[in-house]
């Protein structure tokens, strides 16, 4: 059964700084997702990563996948206040459509 560990749980950072959120998973997964959730809102899909070495970028966010290390990262470049949210990674269980979510990283960007 796939397990997903995400860290840190909380992250407070200043505008303009760079930081990385880490997502480790326990067994083979053929897809890794990143989602964003704003307070009181639903989850918004950010990235779908399919293969080893996959890298996707959208604005100040970049996600990557290392299937050998069973690690995905979400890198934030030159953070701005609008990026304050909770970020979740989720791995797809091999052989079915189930997703296993990490516990989320609550990111707060301080002006």
């Amino acid at each position: 059964e796939l397990k997903v560990e995400q860290n840190p749980l909380f992250l407070s950072m200043q505008e303009g700084k760079n930081y990385t959120i880490y997502c480790n998973y326990s067994t083979t997964s053929d897809r890794l997702y990143w989602y964003r959730q704003d307070p009181g809102k639903s989850l918004e899909s950010l990235f779908v990563l399919l293969s080893n070495g996959a890298v996707k970028q959208e604005g100040r966010l970049m996600a990557s996948l290392d299937t050998k290390a069973r690690l995905s990262t979400l890198h934030i470049t030159a953070a701005v206040h609008d990026l304050s949210a909770t970020y979740f990674c989720a791995g797809k269980n091999f052989g079915n459509e189930k997703l296993t979510f990490g516990t989320g990283t609550r990111l707060t960007i301080i002006p």
Partner: protein, 113 residues
């Protein structure tokens, strides 16, 4: 755009009541899911469905059941609500395909008194 609609944003029920949470999607997706979200625990899968009248247990199915009579609608049922089922409930849908994420509804915040 995919639209996943949950029938209530907020719901308050009493212990022992039978509770129905409804979810409708408008994109003809095959797959539908029910999660609960609790602080510090992330999202946990309750039940999912690949097709009409088909259901599979997720990670925490105890105390819940589901119904999928039509492709677009997936209902979550709390047979006899208990206080430990107070939570945020999220419905999602997806279609098969490697690039396809699950699309989520706005959630129902359910309080059991």
């Amino acid at each position: 755009d995919v639209k996943v609609t949950q029938s209530s944003r907020y719901l308050v029920k009493r212990t022992g009541e039978k509770v129905f949470l409804e979810c409708v999607q408008d994109m003809d997706h095959e797959n539908m899911f029910w999660y609960r979200q609790d602080p510090g625990l992330g999202l946990r899968l309750i039940y999912f469905s690949y097709d009409v009248k088909m259901k599979e247990k997720g990670d925490i199915p105890e105390g819940y059941s589901v119904s999928r009579e039509k492709k677009e609608r997936f209902s979550l049922i709390l047979e006899s609500a208990s206080t430990n089922q107070t939570s945020m409930y999220l419905c999602a849908s997806s279609t098969f395909g490697k690039n396809q994420p699950q699309h989520f509804g706005d959630g129902t915040r359910l309080s059991i008194l």
